[in-house]
């Protein structure tokens, strides 16, 4: 399952975008978008400075 982003927390800083090894994350106007290239490695969840990302089902 892909990570889920809490839009109200996300500051669109790009930390997850630059860290993602699979280029699966894109900055959008008010949040981020994670596409199907995601391998669920979890690096984006860990790099987020404010814990705005979570693995679904956690």
């Amino acid at each position: 399952m892909k990570p889920e982003v809490e839009d109200e927390k996300c500051m669109r800083c790009g930390a997850c975008v630059g860290t993602c090894p699979f280029n699966a994350i894109f900055l959008k106007e008010f949040t981020i978008d994670i596409n199907d290239d995601c391998t669920e490695c979890g690096m984006c969840v860990k790099v987020c400075p404010i814990d705005a990302l979570d693995m679904r089902g956690d």
Partner: protein, 401 residues
């Protein structure tokens, strides 16, 4: 500029990203007569600020800028380093080789850099994202972009990716290798007002307050400062976020505890070694996108500006010659590497060694240095200073680097 769906614009050079590196590239390319367009995805250049804003001024002459008074928030007299046990080392301007530092108003600064590019004839579009590259027979020929919901194309002989840590352009072009977790710093910062500090010095706190990184306090006024930290990604265990670390640091320091935030900033930087290549046919990268952030400090502005100038001049020449092939792009690789690659490698190795230090060692180093009169701040002078009190530490450190 009024964009309609499906428009095709033609330029010599299109630059993705209107930060300092992108604007410097635009300025020096336009100065040489190239037709340049800069695309900035945000609605306002320089805002929101995503930076600690501390910078030296060693590059002004090279960038052909008289002064940046209007973009300066506060002029610094020096820096103070703190060890975990509270030992202090004050480094004055004279010690630092007269290299004056300032804390910027980054939003103003970025607009100034853009203004200088426009003076040379560059065009800018804001709230305009690049959404893909146009490639023909393996050569990049421009970008697909979106402005206020309308998709259009910018065809250009050369694309410059200046789109920061999260660079898509570098990834689309296949230039990137993934970063190693140990080479990513994840950062969080508040601008705190109502705090107590020496407002003429930047302040750096070393040790486990910020594992693998440091806490910075960069004064913006008498009682306001950017207070932030960077944590090495590989030392995060999923329990505590950078924000948690910063909140704890502030809570445990009486000088900062009473402060109130007027903004918060998140982000990440790559503190890595220079990449193998930052070019591909029809495209080159500059600034954070090309990973030239100083690995020791995490600062990216100065290298971005200097590399931006090199890129701009080179790009104008390349399009004039009609050469954007791999062989010709090597000239850019050589030019920017001549300027900064050695130092980037040196600072990367120093960072790798510094990462190994524990709190006790930081205490010893800063304690030893506060006893001696440092005349210059070079790695050699620091090692000599430490050697007087803790010779075994120096041997250990030398082995590591």
């Amino acid at each position: 500029m009024d964009i309609q769906e499906g428009d095709v614009l033609n330029y010599d050079i299109v630059i993705v990203g209107g930060g300092p590196a992108g604007s410097a590239a635009a300025r020096f390319a336009a100065k040489e007569g190239a037709e340049v367009l800069v695309l900035e995805k945000r609605q306002e250049i320089g805002s929101p600020v995503r930076c600690a804003e501390g910078v030296s001024l060693s590059w002004l002459e090279e960038l052909e800028i008289d002064n940046i008074h209007s973009s300066t928030s506060r002029v610094m007299k020096g820096a103070t380093l703190y060890s975990p046990a509270g030992h202090k080392l004050k480094i004055t301007e004279k010690l630092a080789g007269n290299e004056v530092g300032v804390v910027l108003e980054r939003d103003h600064f970025d607009k100034e850099m853009a203004r200088l590019a426009v003076e040379e004839g560059a065009d800018f579009m804001v709230k305009t994202s690049a959404v893909g590259l146009i490639k023909e027979e393996g050569i990049v020929k421009g970008v697909k972009a979106k402005n206020l919901g309308k998709e259009f194309e910018v065809r250009a002989d050369l694309v410059i990716g200046a789109d920061g840590f999260e660079s898509q352009v570098g990834r689309w072009a296949g230039i990137y290798e993934s970063l190693e977790p140990k080479d990513i710093m994840t950062c969080f910062q508040y601008r705190l007002t109502g705090i107590d500090m020496d407002p003429d010095y930047t302040h750096f706190f070393m040790g486990s307050d910020a594992p693998g990184g440091y806490v910075w306090v960069f004064p913006k006024s008498e009682n306001t400062a950017n207070v932030g930290l960077g944590i090495q990604f590989s030392r995060l265990n999923g329990e505590k976020t950078p924000k948690d670390y910063l909140d704890e640091f502030i809570e445990s320091h009486d000088d900062y505890k009473g402060g109130e935030p007027v903004d918060m900033v998140a982000g990440a930087v790559a503190v890595t070694h220079p990449p193998e290549k930052v070019t591909a046919p029809g495209i080159l990268l500059v600034g954070d996108a090309s990973r030239v952030v100083d690995p020791m400090t995490g600062g990216g502005i100065v290298n971005g500006l200097i590399q931006g100038k090199i890129a701009g001049k080179f790009a104008a020449e390349a399009v004039k010659e009609g050469r954007v092939d791999e062989e010709y792009l090597q000239k850019y690789e050589e030019q920017w590497r001549d300027k900064m690659e050695d130092k980037l490698w040196r600072n990367y190795m120093a960072k790798e060694a510094a990462m190994q230090l524990n709190d006790e060692t930081f205490d010893k180093i800063i304690d030893a240095l506060s006893d001696v009169d440092l005349e210059t701040v070079t790695i050699g002078a620091i090692l000599d200073g430490v050697k007087k009190k803790y010779p075994e530490l120096v041997d250990e450190f030398k082995e590591m680097i």
